[in-house]
Symmetry: D2
Subunit: 290 residues, 4 copies
């Protein structure tokens, strides 16, 4: 059992008449991710409004802050026990057998224009044997095709843009992989995490974006940017794409500092400190279409 | 009480090894729309898979059809009793007070790039008094700005495209209005309906696309294309945008005939045949963020 | 010497107060294409305005037509004697050695967003040995990647769209190839022609779009759609892209019939009827950057 | 007679095997702009290749630089004597009466998708009385609609993007105005200048982008961003759009410093120092379609 502890600290200076915030920074409760304990700190006597999506389990925090400084901190200890399967044993699911709440992930979204990529995806991946290995082939192609490069994309960069530019950051890798999966009728969604074991050459620890794909009646995890150790990803949000998974959405005039993030492996219930390692198995984060 | 009866008939010729279908043609069960009776006919001994989204109440039908003809028919009798309010009495809801399941409708989607329209929307509508009347101003602007013209848009036309082209069909009017609302932080969603009272000059009866906006803790109905009588819209689907509200999504090689659609007002429980009329009131289709 | 004769007939019904037309239907005079004779017929006593671009040699015809029918016909007999070279002997030209009037073809244009395709092109073709063979590799990749399919693109479809969709008509093949060439600093331009020897399975004879690339101080001809016999292409226009090469641009309200086009090989000055054939050589249409 | 003197200094650090450059920094020779004297300095014994486009008069400098520092400096003294006309006296030119070399400016280009803006432009400006005043109305609308804001656009931002975002820098204002003009069949082109009298609040002096529109058989000057004194603009390049007017296009790996630019009014041939002032007249920079 891997036990990770992470901390997030966000600092803002709210201008004018105040501002509304939506934060998505809390660890999701899933079948394979257990939040052992957590603590939320808000540096004002503010009442945050909490909402957890019953299907995706993404947890939203909302608050209205007056002018002045705002500090939000969060610490969580999380146990990860992913479901592992040999890749070859994991098949695709026909559209009629998908759980109802998986259907939205078949359709195009803001940053994943799978409708426009239909021809490209069909030609490149349509003829491959169905199953987890086909999705791996998509991930591998994205990893080879796109070069990781900071500051090459922005908040309006979509999967089609990344296909053309051949460069981007983790979120762009994720969007392109998702769009290619959906284009050949495989449900795929965007996920954010804190990322134990990220390559320090890519800068300080930060929120990470990766992909979950629905196969064999479960969501399976893929890291198309290849910068994380998948077994060490603590899931925060899942969503159609980056449009609804930002760690902070701000309504008002606000000065923001970059988020401060920390993650480490700690001793688990058995007193052992287990480090996430790479595996050749398929890794599932959740079952039953949720 | 308005009672409407509508019928949909869909005809396909399935090729090759068969095909999967997702249909969204059934009337939604909402607080203000009661399905008195309905009948589904499938011209083969096929077992459709039914799923109703617990939040949006949109009803999905899925089936796997072998090669050969496929005929799907559906008839429903529906009672409509919309909630009416004076427009001035309906206010906007601050982000922190929105029901959790309304949050997705604040974000950009495939065809409603509210992120890209932020500047335009803020400049045109940001300074107006908040409330239902402001949303009406957006609807009126879209109606004046966009010219209804068949075959001027296609399946990849988005709100930004329509802003530039100034023309489109009902779905394009809806996308532009939705994107403008979201750009100034008003939750808005796409809705499809059968449309009693459409102008016959626009062609045979068809599925109609319109907009629902979340105001005063309810979803309120707007018809930016101005071609329908809002009180006569029988709601079928609500969704982020047209990407997930198509009456038929087809996976496989299939020849399709245009859908055949019929709608009429019939005698209600009191034996009266009440016709939908235009109203100056705000029309709500549903409460509680669902 | 190949001698081809082609005829174009255009029929319009001009509405309202009249309309302005720009036609580009006349055979270009180039070093390797000689117009033996030609005849222009306009079915009204209208004075067309003629202009030939001194650099591209594209010939524009303009006229102002009153309400009523307008018929434009054109017949030309053209001798073709292309300059042939072994592909390996044709190199690329460094930017500083390009003729000045070739520079515009290095830059992105409406339908050839080479700036957005920089990463993709560099990764796929940047490492190949420079020369005519590298450009052939681009042509081959486009030919394999894109599927010829009528009615899959429209007047706003660009190279990036075609990369994503993987389908299109000859103009889309041309735009994608041009954008990829420019992205790796090879000047490339759009060309239109009448097309002797087009595959009859693709429909009645029509205007054809192909590509010219500047190599070894000459423009070399490529047919990325693979539907023509390059030695049988009678050049009409060259331009940045389809934006400025339409056979007819119409300013006003006009009903148009599809153009009627005919082309055949006729006896040349020596009394022989030589048919265009495929060649493995590099084919140049013009020298000196014009 | 206004006499202005400007200086440009560009500093680069060329990496690896060297790089090719295209510079467009020299003052254009036009009928109303006379280059009294000029001096080009290149801090290496490099042979620049000069080319002046015979139609646009834009002057290209190309050179191939080895690894190491590269410094390019240019100083010019320029006399400006624009052609002024009362705005009401300047009419539009029908398509058939345009000089042949003006035709390219009727068509869409990379950053000015006039084809996509046809509906918008027609609806907003199609009904206005033709003439210079109509073009002024377009300029005024762009100026009111778009907010000047640094770092809100990038090298792929086009006219349609700016219409949606409502913000940008001078180049974005220019692209949107050009696209709107072309959409209603008025030839318009992009121009760059050094800009005497720019508002110091917008930062240090820099290259400026503005618009030239063909009216009354001349090119007339418009400054949609409203940040310059039009009579003090020293024209450098004209082009379809920013794609082919960059002051430096670089082929290779190069570190660049921001350009250093200086401009001042100096004593003219009569010994007077005349300062550019705003005028209500229409200002023409060139005649005869060139």
């Amino acid at each position: 059992m891997i036990r990770l502890q992470y901390a997030v600290e966000l600092n803002y200076q709210v201008q004018g008449p105040g501002a509304d915030f939506i934060f998505i920074i809390q660890a999701a409760h899933t079948r394979h991710q257990h939040v052992v304990n957590e603590q939320l700190g808000i540096g004002q006597t503010l009442m945050p409004q909490a909402f957890a999506d019953p299907v995706t389990k993404t947890r939203y925090l909302r608050l209205q802050a007056p002018a002045g400084p705002l500090r939000v901190s969060y610490v969580a200890t999380v146990d990860l026990a992913h479901h592992l399967m040999p890749s070859q044993a994991v098949g695709e699911v026909s559209v009629v057998q998908l759980p109802g709440n998986v259907l939205p992930y078949l359709y195009p979204s803001r940053y994943c224009e799978s409708d426009r990529l239909l021809g490209f995806a069909t030609q490149k991946f349509g003829h491959l044997l169905q199953g987890h290995d086909r999705v791996r082939a998509i991930r591998d192609w994205v990893q080879q095709h796109v070069t990781f490069k900071s500051n090459t994309s922005n908040s309006s960069t979509s999967a089609c843009d990344t296909l053309a530019s051949g460069q981007g950051v983790c979120r762009d890798f994720a969007h392109l992989m998702i769009a290619l999966c959906r284009a050949i009728n495989i449900p795929a969604r965007f996920a954010t995490a804190l990322d134990y074991g990220a390559d320090p050459a890519l800068g300080p620890p930060d929120f990470h974006a990766y992909v979950e794909v629905f196969l064999g009646q479960r969501w399976y995890l893929f890291d198309p940017s290849g910068t994380a150790i998948p077994l060490g990803l603590v899931r925060i949000a899942t969503s159609r794409d980056a449009a609804d998974a930002a760690f902070a959405t701000i309504f008002g005039t606000v000065w923001s500092e970059p988020p401060r993030v920390h993650i480490e492996a700690v001793a688990n219930a058995q007193g052992e400190r287990v480090l996430p390692r790479h595996t050749m198995d398929a890794i599932s984060t959740d079952a039953d279409g949720a």
